[in-house]
C-alpha cells in the first residue's frame, strides 16, 4: 500500500468515526475526531510546502551564485541599449553628411553640365566657320571664365566626394557594436531557456508559451510589420515593387 492511500484510509476511518460521534450526539468525541482529521491534512500540506520551499531555495541560490545573471540584467542589457542608440546616431549622422555633400555637389554638376552644353554649341558654330569675329571674342572670354570657375567647382565636388567616402566609416563601428549585441542576445536567450526549464520543473509554468496571446499580438492590425528582413519573409508579404504593382492592378489600379 502506498503512503498516500494509507493516509486516505486513515482519513476515511476518522471521518466515519466523526459521523458516528455526531449521530450519537457526542460532541466532545466528534471534536477530537475532527481535530485528528485536520492534523492529517495539515501535515500533508506542510510536507508539500517544505519540498517547494527547498526547491525554491535551491533555485534562488543557483541564480544568486551565478553573477552572470546580475551582470546581464544590471549592466549588459542597459549597455546594449546605449550601444544600439549610438548605432542610430552614427547611421543618421552618416546619412546626413552624405546628403549634405550630395546637395552641395549636385548644383555644381548641373551648372557644369549647362556650361558644357552651351560652350559645345558655340564651339561647333566656330568650327563650322559660322562665327563672327565679335562673337568669337565673347566666346574666348566665356571659355576663360569657364576655366577659372569650373576648376574651383570641380575641387568642391571632389571634396564632397571625399566627405561621402569618409561618412561610410560608420559601417565599421556600427558593425562591431551590432555583432556584440548579437552575442549578448544569444547569451540572454540561453539563460532564458535555462530559466524556463527550471520554472517548468517547479511547476511554475508548463514551459509552453501562451499561444493565444502571441497569436493575438501578431494579428493586431495596429502592430505594423515594418521592413522585411531578407530570409525571413512571410507568405502574407510582397517580395518586390513588381508584386505591389501586380497586387494593385488586380484591384483595378
Amino acid at each position: 500500500m502506498t503512503e498516500k492511500s494509507e493516509i486516505n484510509e486513515e482519513a476515511l476511518g476518522l471521518a466515519k468515526k466523526y459521523v458516528g460521534f455526531l449521530e450519537a450526539g457526542d460532541a466532545e468525541q466528534a471534536d477530537n475526531a475532527l481535530a485528528e482529521l485536520t492534523d492529517i491534512r495539515e501535515s500533508q500540506l506542510f510536507n508539500e510546502l517544505g519540498h517547494l520551499t527547498r526547491d525554491f531555495h535551491e533555485t534562488l541560490n543557483s541564480f544568486g551564485s551565478d553573477d552572470r545573471f546580475n551582470t546581464l540584467a544590471n549592466d549588459d542589457i542597459p549597455d546594449a541599449r546605449e550601444r544600439l542608440n549610438y548605432v542610430i546616431t552614427k547611421t543618421s549622422e552618416a546619412a546626413h553628411k552624405t546628403l549634405s555633400a550630395v546637395e552641395d555637389a549636385l548644383p555644381m554638376c548641373e551648372s557644369l553640365e549647362d556650361k558644357f552644353a552651351k560652350l559645345n554649341v558655340e564651339w561647333s558654330k566656330f568650327l563650322s566657320k559660322e562665327m563672327k569675329p565679335q562673337e568669337f571674342r565673347a566666346l574666348s572670354l566665356e571659355i576663360k571664365d569657364f576655366f577659372e570657375t569650373s576648376g574651383a567647382d570641380v575641387t568642391v565636388v571632389r571634396n564632397d566626394l571625399t566627405d561621402i567616402l569618409m561618412a561610410q566609416d560608420f559601417q565599421d563601428i556600427t558593425g562591431q557594436i551590432i555583432t556584440r549585441v548579437i552575442t549578448l542576445v544569444t547569451e540572454v536567450e540561453t539563460s532564458l531557456v535555462e530559466l524556463v526549464k527550471i520554472g517548468s520543473k517547479l511547476g511554475l509554468n508548463s514551459g509552453v508559451p501562451d499561444n493565444k496571446d502571441s497569436k493575438d499580438k501578431a494579428e493586431d492590425p495596429a502592430a505594423l510589420a515594418g521592413p522585411q528582413v531578407p530570409g525571413m519573409e512571410s507568405e502574407s508579404v510582397v517580395a518586390s515593387q513588381d508584386d505591389v504593382d501586380d497586387l494593385l492592378s488586380s484591384l483595378g489600379f
Binding site: 543618421s92 546619412a95 546626413h96 546628403l99 550630395v102 546637395e103 549636385l106 505594423l224 510589420a225 515594418g226 521592413p227 522585411q228 502574407s236 508579404v237 510582397v238 517580395a239 518586390s240 515593387q241 505591389v244 497586387l247 494593385l248 484591384l251 489600379f253
Partner: protein, 130 residues
Amino acid sequence: MNKDMKILVVDDFSTMRRIIKNLLRDLGFTNTSDADDGQTALPMLKGGSYDFLVTDWNMPGMTGIELLKAVRADPEMASMPVLMVTAEQKKEQIIEAAQAGVNGYIVKPFTAITLKEKIDKIFERIDNAK
C-alpha cells in the same frame, strides 16, 4: 504635369525626407515642403493648397494611413493625389491603402526610377480622367 506643383513629403526620418526631396528636385519638382508625421502634416495640408502628398506609413503620432483617410474625408482635399512610400509590404496593408484611396504605393527600399514611374503614372491617370 505641372513641375511647379506644391508637394508635401511626410516621413518621420529626416534622412528619408531629404532623399525624397532631392529625388523630386532631380525630377524637376522644386516646390516641396516636409513634415515628420501626420499630425504635423494635416494642418499644413489644410489650406496649404498642396497639389500632391508623398507619405510614409509607420510614423509616431499620426500614421500615413490615418493621414490618407483624413485627407480623403476632407472635401477640400479629397481629390489630392497621394503616393505612399513605405517599408510596409504586407498584402493586407497594401489592400487597406488601396481601399483608403491611395494613388500609388512604393515599397522601401526604392529607386529613383520607381519614384519617377509612379509619379508619372499617377498624373497621367489624372490627366486622362479630365
